[in-house]
Symmetry: C2
Subunit: 581 residues, 2 copies
């Protein structure tokens, strides 16, 4: 006998008078005199069951003994409800039960299994399996499953092969820390867990696989901070015989496809913005372009007027707030407080309201006359009725702060429409950054990233001017992926290694087997990786990746439910040939 003939999301008027079998969890019980109503739930929905004392007194009694989260099996007849609930798909009907079996009882859950629960973070992490019952989390997990499916389906249609790469690999002395795995059969030796399949996907290109992808777990032993996970999932891709245009076209179509399939939203065009322009106009390399409010550069109209703060500042930038002349003192004070928060780090903010009558009002009226303020207005393209907020200071931190202010303003003005999806490519990143501390060049993406063809000459004399064939995709203000065209020419690779300060010996130690592979006919190739956890969160308009991971770790890298990491037996340590300090 099968457990059920229908699920709890599918019954409607077309089933009237049919006998059905249902299984699920007791969501709610209401006793109304001679009637008991029980809502049962599964991941498909909720169905209302009705027990009538007149029709079946025994069952009626049994139903009254049910508790929240009991697992039950029922059989009954689909009937019309007295009061129809238009809000739920099964709201037209209820099931008059003629058979009830308790499959399993439940203790009272430590928090309510409702969309808005009363459970705190720690409690919900400890009982993650109960938190996973809540509809908002279930929707996230279902969304993730669908994003993964449509990713695979699209990439397969485009000729990509799904190829698995190993998890027990070799530790590399580069970048973030590897998690390592002691080898029992080779005592004193270790495997490492991959931070990404980067070298393997490049090897697969050398092997001729042409179009590779994988949705794959990666591991980084970072000092934990909010919203980072020691294990995370990448959509990892690589292609051969491609230039930058091929990659951008292929993968903007992937993102379009995913958003269309899971959100029903069609995206027309994915703009391409150069890194330098993105920093200039948005104060960030992951701009939210759902709204305008670009950064205005005001050095020319602000400096040299005797106002010391401006005159001593490297950079003076502003954001025009449409209609901002109406802002109250309180609203402005609140923004000033916000900008002074340590994570923003500004010492203050200057505002100027461009009033409709043309009499401008600023917080620095003492230093600037109306004519000068009018030049701010015209330089920034503001209209009368708008307000400009101005930050001044050294270039890097001021640009960063104005980018954050832009986002904060958009939040407050509700300009970040969660139903809008605006991906954007950021291109032409610098190949190198110069680290003042170590006096060394660092690869901004990774050491295999190819310079732009036109810039190769600059490597010799002006490496910081060299642009890279690298690209990031930002979606609604969050970086969701990035990659590059790789160097596949040995001479050029050596030149880059030299600039990065690797000797031949070091380069060989770090990247030996990949460099050796490159000697046997490496094709031109490039790729990209998207963060799946992040992508799902951004698509859902959420800031936190944790609710899109079935069993996440907390900010100290612990799984509270499992109580791990934990001690292991001395025997196990002995077998592995290791001691604890």
């Amino acid at each position: 006998m099968s457990y059920r003939t229908v699920n709890n999301g599918e019954l409607n008027k077309s089933y009237l008078n049919k006998v059905v079998k249902l299984c699920g969890w007791v969501q709610k019980i209401r006793n109304l005199g001679g009637m008991t109503f029980v809502d049962i739930r599964d991941r498909y929905g909720i169905t209302q069951l009705v027990f009538n004392v007149d029709k079946n007194p025994t069952l009626f009694e049994e139903a009254r003994k049910l508790g929240r989260e009991y697992v039950i099996k029922v059989e009954g007849t689909v009937i019309l409800r007295n009061s129809i609930n238009r809000k739920m798909p099964t709201g037209e009907i209820e099931v008059e039960v003629n058979y009830l079996s308790i499959l399993n009882k439940s203790k009272t859950p430590p928090f309510t299994i409702e969309n808005e629960t009363d459970g705190g973070d720690d409690l919900r992490m400890k009982y993650r399996y109960l938190d996973l019952r809540r509809e908002p989390i279930q929707n996230n997990i279902i969304l993730r499953s669908e994003v993964a499916f449509h990713t695979r389906n699209y990439l397969r249609t485009q000729g990509f092969l799904e190829i698995e790469t190993p998890f027990l690999i070799k530790s590399t002395p580069e970048g973030a820390r590897d998690f390592v795995v002691p080898s029992r059969l080779n005592k004193g030796s270790f495997y490492a867990l991959p931070q990404s399949p980067q070298t393997f996907k490049q090897l697969l290109m050398v092997s001729g696989y042409d179009k590779y992808y994988q949705i794959v777990k990666c591991f980084r032993d970072e000092d934990f901070r909010a919203d980072r996970q020691p294990e995370f999932t990448q959509i990892d891709c690589e292609m051969s015989f491609v230039e930058i245009e091929d990659i951008l076209n292929m993968f903007e179509n992937l993102i379009k496809e995913i958003i269309y399939k899971v959100k029903g939203v069609k995206i027309d065009k994915v703009p391409r913005i150069k890194y330098s322009e993105s920093i200039r106009d948005y104060g960030t390399d992951k701009p939210d372009i759902r709204f305008e409010m670009k950064v205005k550069h005001l050095n020319s109209v602000c400096k040299g007027k005797g106002f010391n703060l401006f005159d001593s500042s490297e950079t003076i930038v502003g954001i025009v707030v449409p209609g901002g002349a109406e802002f109250s003192r309180k609203q402005i004070d609140s923004l000033t407080d916000w900008i002074k928060k340590p994570q923003i780090g500004c010492s203050g903010m200057i505002f100027c309201k461009f009033n409709t009558e043309g009499r401008h009002k600023s917080s620095v009226d003492k230093f600037f006359n109306n004519e000068q303020l009018e030049s701010w207005r015209s330089e920034s393209g503001a209209n009368n009725g708008d307000m400009i907020l101005i930050l001044a200071g050294d270039e890097k931190s001021t640009i960063n702060a104005i980018g954050l202010l832009r986002i904060e303003l958009a939040e407050r003005l509700k300009l970040r429409d969660p139903n809008l999806f605006k991906p954007v490519w950021i291109t032409d990143f610098p190949l190198f950054e110069f680290d003042e501390k170590s006096k060394k060049y660092h690869a901004m993406h990774h050491p295999f990233t190819s310079p732009n063809d036109d810039d190769v000459e600059l490597l010799k004399n002006d490496p910081l001017k060299v642009k890279a064939k690298a690209y990031d995709m930002a979606l609604n203000g969050t970086e969701i992926g990035g990659g590059s065209i790789r160097i596949f020419n040995k001479g050029l690779q050596n030149e880059v290694f030299n600039l990065l300060g690797f000797s031949d010996v070091e380069a060989n130690e770090k990247f030996g087997f990949l460099m050796e592979a490159f000697e046997y006919g490496a094709p031109p190739h490039g790729g990209i990786a998207f963060g799946l956890d992040r992508l799902c969160a951004v698509i859902s308009g959420s800031d936190s990746i944790r609710d899109f991971i079935p069993f996440p770790k907390n900010n100290s890298g612990k799984d509270i439910m499992l109580d791990t990491p934990s001690k292991i037996d001395d025997d196990q340590l002995k077998d592995l040939g290791i001691n604890i300090d």
Copy 2:
């Protein structure tokens, strides 16, 4: 400018006179007087390029300088070949080249990139990226990608969600050894890598996800032996509100779908054989049912005739070889040698040829007269012209040996048709095995496996008679998957734990958080896991999983290409708070 307009597998007569761009690796160069032919290869196929000294002497010279595995880009015109090669899809045409660019040179590979290579195992493992260029391996990798895709596609159609479970979990003291991962942020503590997502998929059922699947890496730190890998991939599935029939139907359809999609072979029916019958008839619980030759039990006709070997043996079993009366002495001797190999472990084999004239001829003619031999014939259902091979000894090892002999005979008689696919379910496994050494019961599948409903009473008095709701699928003589309906009732679970000798404290230590989860409304559930590496190998008629894994480890768990496991820095050890013994 794009690198290519077509790949090397797609050109045919319909492209005649078209100008195309191609990229690929130089497979072969033939110089014929004023003509040079170059085969270029990519994963789609091979295209013949032609360079004519009269038409373009410069290019002709350049082409002669190409080497094996050079990566080139060409442009040219599709023309008809002089001598058509019907064996290859592009065999009707060739490309007369007007532009050639060497994208990358190649050293001479350490072995030939041909279907039959001259490279030994170790060399091919060290240069795995070159071995992966060979067509047979590429076909395996492509097959694997397709098997994974059709698995996902089918399961999604059936309402399954793909849900990821964590890799950094808790070490359990059960079964095979865990790989462990020292935690840097929680010094002295360890994560473990999962041997399977078993507990997580059961938790997901408690969470109400109803139909879960995942194609997922699992890890087992076993003492390595041939054809085992420390990391392997499972198709892992679990369902709620199901009985055994629901699972068998769902997953035999999965296997049918996969084999149909990747091999074009339709499978009608998947037979279900009880464990005891499989052992009786095939000498194994993973029978190859592509051919008959069932095991014949001959105690009744062999014993008590004064032949000491038979009289002192627990079990006398035979295999009828159709037409075997024609076997030569040499063929029989070779089988006798085979049966005495240590891994089979028999001391000898008795044969009897049932000759067409009715005069039977056996290796024990001294002890049995023709009438008695005739009773062997009729008992075993042999025809005149057949031969029976008989093994005798203790039950367990003799049954095992006859099962192996059955397979060996089928190999020699070419009865194992690689184009036939015969999956079979084995059901009704015993719930427990009794270990004579420890005098303890062991769970044959795992401790959460449910007993058959009718057998629950037997738990008290005769546990070895209890059958389990467990099932394995065998395909062509190899186990490809297995699973069970799980216990979801706490009382029954405790009874089983007690029989397995776990105290309540031990049970709680080992399975605490799962048992706790079961207190909050666990639904009836069950599942299955298929070995993806093995499944791909069996579908391809291969015995070895290694060629279906892109980057496998060798039998000592080493990756020769990466040279791992390997030493790590002292600093890294210090960070982790561990010492090497």
